[in-house]
Amino acid sequence: MPRVAIVGANGQVGAELCLLLAARRGIELVPICRTRSGSAFLRWHGIPCRHGRVADESDASRLLADCDFVVNSSLASGTPAEIRGIEDQIVRNIFAHSKGSATIIHFSTQSVYGDPRPYRLIRWRNPYGQAKLGTEAQVRARSRETKKPAFILRLGHVCGALQEITLSIRDSILSDAVLLPHDDHSSNTVYTGAIIQALDQIIRAAVPPGTYDLMNTPAWTWRDVYQYEAENLGVPLAARRNGPEHRRSRFAAIANQLAATIAANQSVRDMFAKAFPRVPADLNARAMAWWYSRRARSEIAALTVAPAAPSHLSWVANGVRFFPADHPTIDVLRSISIPGDVPPTNRWPDDFPDAGASFAAPTATAASVAGA
């Protein structure tokens, strides 16, 4: 039976994956958390955990050395430099101290594609996306060095019973406050069930190692997501459309942005103000009329408190190489559910035993990486 370690098991995504994996037959789950405070939720649900710091070389072996698959779902915190340093250490130790034949599954993010807002001329990456891209490169390099197969899964917005985005979607459905954008494109969402399905395919060696965008299959629009959640709640979806009805051309949108940026500059405005006395009177009058009507329009708009759809609903669709899921996500979701309440006698289990002495010595390849 393959032993699957989840590093960062008590995180937002990791915890839900652990609940789902714990209910599956055919694998042995090893959740890894740094502290007992962190693992409390999983242990309360009857799931034994290992405790320690994968980023620490002295801990990594006892945490990972007996695992056939290592899923890196960790999210470092601290200053950008600390985050980068810890992520590097975690990746290095996962490759160096996991079983010689282990397969590594690294969760990355859609942020590597850069600015998600629509109509961007250049999609600049934020520091988070840049750091994640750097970590991806490190995963590939370590994989080549250690000959351990690696999967990099770029997750979209992760939805699921315990995910904040899903809980807020359900809240908005129940309070009749659903606003959807007019542009009904891919939502970049991935349900935890689809992640479990992908892990299942990887464990069965049904997919070759590589870098994949992991999203629902086929891609779901936001309307699909809200519709699915409304069905889960047993209520009809009463969604209103929000935003421009027709997609602007990319060129027009960029030109508008540029004009707005220039117009917002006080020096530019002063320059125009100084120039206007020199232009014909009718042009002056038309400019003033334009300004008055624009001001009135914004004042009238301010009379109505118009709720806006969350900005992420209008983010652009991402993806270059999608994970080849063998079943549509909707079918997967209908076949699984988070296990119900754990009987009180099964709560707070003993810790999952550390990796045995026979696995503690790193392989020659791993040792050379660790010493690098």
């Binding site: 008590n10 995180g11 937002q12 502290t35 405070s37 962190g38 309360w44 710091r53 707070w348």
Partner: protein, 336 residues
Amino acid sequence: MSVPGTVLSIGVVGAGEITRKSHLPVLVNMPDVKIDWLYDQRATSARALAGAYGLPAVHAPSPSELPACDVVLLAIPVDARLAYLDLIRARGGAAFCEKPFALSAADHTREVQRFAPHALGAGFMRRFFRPTILMRQVVVERIFGCLRKIEICEGNRSKGSGTDSSFLDDPRLGRSRGVLVDLGSHTIDLALHISGATGFRVQSSAAVMDGAVDRKLAASVQLDVGVGKPVELDYTVSWLDRQPNRVTLTFDNAVVWSGLGPAAEVFVGRHGKPRDLFCLSSPTAGATTYGQAFYLEWRAFLSGFRSQTESIVSARSAYLTTQLVEALGAAGSKHA
């Protein structure tokens, strides 16, 4: 004794997250304050944090060798504070302690008796949140009649360890590990502060225990408010599941509720008609961000220290909070 208007010297003990993210950013922006030194048992952490803020780090083999200053911030686990408090008292200085102030009413009383009321503070900064001030005002002025009931539900499942070796997991630091003391003491203090309670009776308290550590607690308490009937307090705090994170006040003629963050709106509605609501708007001053709340609590404490008058964040004012937390913890662990 400090002269009004002079610059106060501050020493900081503890180079953890609360110091890094909350206290230092505020203190370095206060014109009448100078941070003289920063100390942590972990010299590397102290040096790194002090360096980031351009402050001097000190290394001392024992607390008695720390330099003298007017006020010391104690941002270390409550169990580790005694030696520092002894030193500060011996030097005639003042101490501002992060919450919780003490783990038992007996410890709390002992420390409060050793210091002048203006010289010992406890960091319950939620008292300065704008919604707190607004709700306190509604209670005091009886705008909707007498306060009858308070419901507070706070918490969520723990997500991410956030730190490698939290004091919450250090067995040497004993009872300070659970959700009630670490997170719940804030909202217990909030309930007592808003209601103006002068005493309490615990009706019931049940905790979900993880060995010796409480991870969730639900309780029912009667709060004595001096005149009239006691106020009911329904209280839940959890690290195991998602709570509404809301405080709800039931009055004779209305229900008032708010989220627990500093920028939360305060709503008023009718009993049983949650959709017929109004948002309370008030010129009430108060913090709408955590940074503002930390600034206001420091300003209140230092102003009291300068004028030698007890401030709203005096340790003495938090005595009932410690007492109720202790009582709930004791009753809760019996009914786990």
